[in-house]
Symmetry: C2
Subunit: 392 residues, 2 copies
Amino acid sequence: MWDVAEELGAMLVFAEHRYYGESLPFGQDSYSDAKHLNYLTSEQALADFSVLIRELKRTVLGAQKSPVIAIGGSYGGMLSAWLRMKYPNVVVGALAASAPIWQFPDMVPCGDFYKIVTQDFARSGLNCDVNIRRSWKAIDNITATDDGLQWLSGEFSLCSPLKKTDLDGFKAWLQETWVNLAMVDYPYEANFLQPLPRWPIQVVCKHLGFDPSVVSDYQLLGGISEAARVYYNYTGNCPCLNTSSTATGNLGFIGWYYQACTEMVMPLCTDGVQDMFEPQDWNFQAFSDECHSLFGVRPRPDWADTVYGGLDIASHSNIIFSNGGLDPWSSGGVTRNISDSLVAIVIPDGAHHLDLRYNNEYDPHTVLSARVLEVKYFKLWITQARKLQIPG
Amino acid sequence: MWDVAEELGAMLVFAEHRYYGESLPFGQDSYSDAKHLNYLTSEQALADFSVLIRELKRTVLGAQKSPVIAIGGSYGGMLSAWLRMKYPNVVVGALAASAPIWQFPDMVPCGDFYKIVTQDFARSGLNCDVNIRRSWKAIDNITATDDGLQWLSGEFSLCSPLKKTDLDGFKAWLQETWVNLAMVDYPYEANFLQPLPRWPIQVVCKHLGFDPSVVSDYQLLGGISEAARVYYNYTGNCPCLNTSSTATGNLGFIGWYYQACTEMVMPLCTDGVQDMFEPQDWNFQAFSDECHSLFGVRPRPDWADTVYGGLDIASHSNIIFSNGGLDPWSSGGVTRNISDSLVAIVIPDGAHHLDLRYNNEYDPHTVLSARVLEVKYFKLWITQARKLQIPG
């Protein structure tokens, strides 16, 4: 964005979503209960952005007639696409990078997400996915005894030793670690969720190359622990691993969770066959109950489909949906062209919104082409907008 | 709509807007204060309609894949257009009849509305607009004395005799009477706001044909009183005229006024030259103060432009904007084609959403053509929708 803004003579505006960062509408009370959380919705965010953009155009010298393009990645990409859909008068187009606008009930299979995670590991090293798939049973085997629990805690240098009751949480933490690695499997050193080496999953998989037919549970989990450290301790500064954190907390985890518990219901599931995780069905009722106990709200699973059109978005225009082939969120992304002006760009070697990052010498050529194409569309939209401009 | 529904094999659904009719979200308390009125917004109404349509498609046998077309007149026409703009996944197109979607600040001149009212009277009888323009001063002249006040009250058969302090209200009531007549100047007997003869303004103007250079104030106001009775007492059953009512109360006046005081800020003004009314500028501050005293809220004059696009609606599709040339609300309507699928139909001899009414033997041919064209577009949208239908 920075390079491109310079090329286009554009102003970049980073708008903070209400309830995230410092944008707390009720200060410290913003998250205190359902009543205070009530204004945390994507619709409100879109309205905020629209009002902000119009206010900037009104007050920033020279901006009055400047066409505006929405750019975002992940949920920000969803908002960008939706901003164009709902406020085409405010933004002339949108780049929705790694935006899973179809990860809602009955739009895509719930298992695709973890399949992609698994494929990332399978392609990054011999036996890598196979050994992770086996690790869950190995954890069960070893933690059947107190000695095993203690061994595992030591092997992972856990900040708090594992208890029997922690095992589900421990597995969930590992699972989320693999997911996060899939999201940030970038071709160069980067620090998005965590500081990581280039192609981190390849580095992870170096620790998981065992022949699965001969490896012991202890060896296997030793490898898993080394693999986890790639994610949590690449800098070598981390004295112990904390299974209650996967480093996404700083991205507004609670806010996002509340949104998932209201509008953003995204079914995910695993079967242990097409993916490397323990089988788990999508259980809406359990999810709803959890939402109710956490926030006092219950999710509306159909609402995203109603308000944002679901699969039926063909009447909109000027949106680029870019997705990385390595990115599990591409499971819910738009990966085929819908029309001449609703275009999909797939970056086979890309992880989560790689295209939004600075150019880098290690960038695969596919992301370079994607960026070029994106800018071509930006220029087209700007030209169109200048032609259509309403007088006055 | 009824004829056309039969022709198309369609189901007609009349959805009641929240806070109107029986759809009171807080029962008798719905209008009690700003807190209870907080959910009375056009956005909520659009969301309600979308949820309702999806629910009907889910539950009505055979409706699942039926394309839906939004149809409405006046504010209902605005909602129809906006429903297509905001929920193109829910409705394949919209007929927005007499929908003043541009009657918001800085979109159209505030004086056009009353200019059209005036033109309707000017074309309906010699001197008709001239004598109405003169009547305001005649009222001032005559009511300068108590005898005059009494005379005027008698002449109009007012239910409550006029006091000096009632004069602004009396004039406002007369002004609104002329406006309402312009809205319902239908070519046949009808009962929309009131039971009325065919071409009611022609009937009104028969009482106002005096030569303005010789008529006395008494004669003039006598004619005005006869003219007003055309509107209020066509049936002959009205024992006295009530200046606190203009027969729009039953259309949800308070609800609409609250909406005008929040989102639907529609500037109107008169100059007494291009229109036949006393000059009155649009005074936002006075309006805002009135809103605050009535409802405890202040209007957001820019919001409609932000949320519904104002003049910049070209990226939307499949909306017919029909307007009557006699209808003052056509001042804020879309009366020129915006694109191949955002089309304007102007019915020169039409008043407020005449096209939505049953066919009638007195219909001018222009409204018959309009109805034919509207149905042509309906069929086109339905065909398009069936081709584009998302599988599943």
